[in-house]
Symmetry: C2
Subunit: 191 residues, 2 copies
């Protein structure tokens, strides 16, 4: 069970199966159906989530009542509102399952206990956050590098497996576009 | 010397002055004039930078030869292309001083030695990256939340001390706007 997390941790630091079984006791396993809400905006952000299977997105709702996706997580990705998780404060973001999803959740207090018991995991999380942070800056570069017209086609041609997997309106939202605009440029390209 | 870094580390973990003096021996101190290049795009990304004094920005140059700012760092911020730093690969980003700046640089190999010698610093860097990553996602929210017209005024009214300190064209670039567009909306607001 949760073999993926064992393998993921072992990409960055070395842990044995016995220690891993003890580490796992700090986590909770949850299963969600497609469209289920995993984290509610307006609540205290108490959990960090590791995706074992499936796909989720993190979003906020703008003043016009429209959800905007800021991040996806598939297998082997961690996801939460990290500022709110760190501060144990209210989050403005929601997390929702895009597919049937299985996750491990780690509460803030359990994370503190886990890291006190296994300080070597600090290195694991340091690297996970370093890579996530670096990727997030690369996404900013991406958003600034391409025109509105180009970004959708550039993204879907570079990540075709992801574009197959996730609904078009969520990819549009993630790229800062409206679904209507994506339909328009796809029609234009066809004609 | 470098008292800021000592105080910054002690916000998150406890270290004493004797250990800190030894930690400091892994860093190099550099001083830059306004507009000096600190990291060159196209080179291997070997260093992570802690700003002691001044302000820098990280940018890339788009296909039209225009520099786009993706990040700033002022006192007590770390800055580098974290994906390239982690992978020891070529970076597409440059880092330039916006003001006369004093930084501490930590090379990739020195960071490994430092963390091997002082593993408690893993927790420090884990928290630094966690907060940086969380802030980067909040910036995405910001970019998606406001219209092109609103984002400049929202940013400068929320961070007036920063808007005072940094040239307008760099703030425009950081917010995904052209300097001409900012002049236009400022004129429109005045009239």
């Amino acid at each position: 069970m949760a073999k993926q997390l064992f393998l993921h941790i072992n990409r960055f630091i070395k842990i044995n199966e016995k220690d891993f079984r003890e580490m796992l006791s700090f986590f909770e396993l949850h299963t969600f159906d497609k469209k289920d809400i995993i984290m509610n905006p307006g609540n205290r952000c108490n959990n960090n989530f590791f995706v074992l299977e499936g796909c989720v997105h993190m979003y906020f709702t703008n003043d016009n009542g429209i959800d905007r996706t800021v991040q996806f997580a598939i297998e082997n990705w961690w996801i939460t509102d990290n500022l709110a998780y760190y501060k144990k404060s209210i989050t403005n973001f929601g997390i929702q399952a895009v597919e049937p999803t299985q996750i491990l959740s780690l509460s803030h207090s359990k994370q503190e206990q886990l890291l006190a018991k296994f300080p070597s995991l600090e290195k694991y999380f340091r690297i996970v956050y370093q890579i996530s942070y670096g990727s997030s800056i690369m996404k900013t570069k991406y958003l600034y590098e391409f025109s509105k017209e180009d970004i959708y086609f550039h993204f879907t041609s570079h990540y075709p497996w992801f574009a197959q997997r996730v609904p078009q309106y969520l990819i549009a939202s993630f790229l800062g576009l409206t679904p209507e605009y994506v339909s328009e440029i796809k029609n234009k390209k066809r004609s």
